[in-house]
Point group: C2
Chain length 156, copies 2
Amino acid sequence: MSSSKAATKEETVCSIARTLEVVGDKWTFLILRESALRGVSRFADFRRELGIAPDLLTGRLTALVDEGIMEKRPYREPGSRTRYSYHLTAAGEELRLILAALQQWGDVHRTPARGPSHLRRSAGAGRPVSVAFVDDTGAVLSAEDVAFTPAQGITR
Amino acid sequence: MSSSKAATKEETVCSIARTLEVVGDKWTFLILRESALRGVSRFADFRRELGIAPDLLTGRLTALVDEGIMEKRPYREPGSRTRYSYHLTAAGEELRLILAALQQWGDVHRTPARGPSHLRRSAGAGRPVSVAFVDDTGAVLSAEDVAFTPAQGITR
């Protein structure tokens, strides 16, 4: 991307591009999935669950900490050296909506043979939960009822 | 990813990973943004707006057509040869929710100096629109009220 002036200019104003700069990488998304959906936090557990090479995992986790998406906490088990676990910050928790939107699209348009692997349910009542467009009165809108309009004074 | 057995196994069941297989690439996302948010459809326009190399653009557009996200339509201007434009399919239109979720996170957590470049508004009334978790009664839920639970019979 850095080879393109146009794309670089884009990235300074477009929030989609800015978010993708942080999380626009498959391994990063999969690490966030393990954390947000399955509660994985320890380095060794990420490594085992994802089958990711240690140097790649270290790089991605370090970047997520630097970006304020995860925080690193020391822990120590009896007889072992200090190790680290990684936990979502408040900003990281808000990525759950993006993960859920990706999941919802995949459930419908790339349905696994055995059906969706995870379900979204409300914590209390256990009701099915979806990701949707909602206006400021709380009304749910269909995608065709949503317009993306340039902000005033910004042409792109 | 293909070097990892664990990740490959994941991708057969996890809808997030399956969606990322289709759209998990920055250029692909940016092409979809130009199409979904700004109505760009012609090859030359994608190329100019994104500053993307023609071979990269051809590759990404071809993949999007193969995946059923975009459809290719011929057009011809007077005195010119037949050219092609690319339009979102119904499945592609549903990616707008993912784009909007990425945009919303970036607006808040990576706010551009001049503010968000695009606003989401309801097509009729022009009300502000956000992406949110909604249960099957239409009630909007906060992220902490949503649980991701393994589907029955599938352990991950």
